[in-house]
């Protein structure tokens, strides 16, 4: 069986980001505010080099969100 997120063409990273957001929004107001302020932790960044020059630095999650 193919998972729904895979059928929709999402990456696993994107799927997890959506699931995590739903979890954060379901919290009680106190912990929710704290979690929303922190947001999705985006620590993995990458830069594409072309012709010996670095391009723009992007986070993995912003890139998979654009897909």
């Amino acid at each position: 069986m193919v998972a729904a997120w895979k059928a929709a063409g999402f990456t696993y990273n994107k799927y997890l980001a959506i699931a995590a957001r739903a979890v954060r929004r379901s919290l009680k107001d106190g912990p929710r505010a704290k979690a929303e302020r922190r947001g999705n932790v985006e620590q993995l960044k990458f830069v594409k080099w072309e012709n010996g020059k670095p391009g723009e630095s992007k986070t993995i999650s912003s890139e998979s969100a654009a897909q």
């Binding site: 729904a4 799927y15 980001a17 959506i18 699931a19 739903a22 979890v23 009680k28 929710r32």
Partner: protein, 165 residues
Amino acid sequence: MNALRVARAAFKARPQAVQVFKRGYAEAAGPSDKIKLSLTLPHQTIYKTSDVVQVNIPAESGDMGVLANHVPSIEQLRPGIIDIIEEAGGSKQFFLAGGFAVVQPGSELTINAVECYPVEEFSAENVKNELAEAQKIASGSGSEADIAEAKIEIEVLEAIQASLK
């Protein structure tokens, strides 16, 4: 000839001595009926190689309980409840949004998740509101990606709702 006899006597004596000092790896490693649990998020460490008795995880292939000396495996996790039975006899329940559980040799369990909160920190009210909103989007006329996104949210929210009851 005399030296050879002495050497032979020493050789004979050895097996006894070996038996006296024989000790297995498992004994040296301490009690083997506990599993070392690490539960980590990108922003927080909830358990750091803590000894627990049992961990029930919602794996993609079905719910499973992990005890000490479990066979090594890697499991993808569904959004769901993870049940941790601690040494003191108490148990803690967390809801996690998906991730991976790795059972390593030597009774070690490592769980990586994006978000994970104690069940008490969820608000049934907020879940209900979010669910209503996601259902509206899913049955609306938005883009295909929006609908797929809403469907994922519904799946997660329904899992939370089921675990709060």
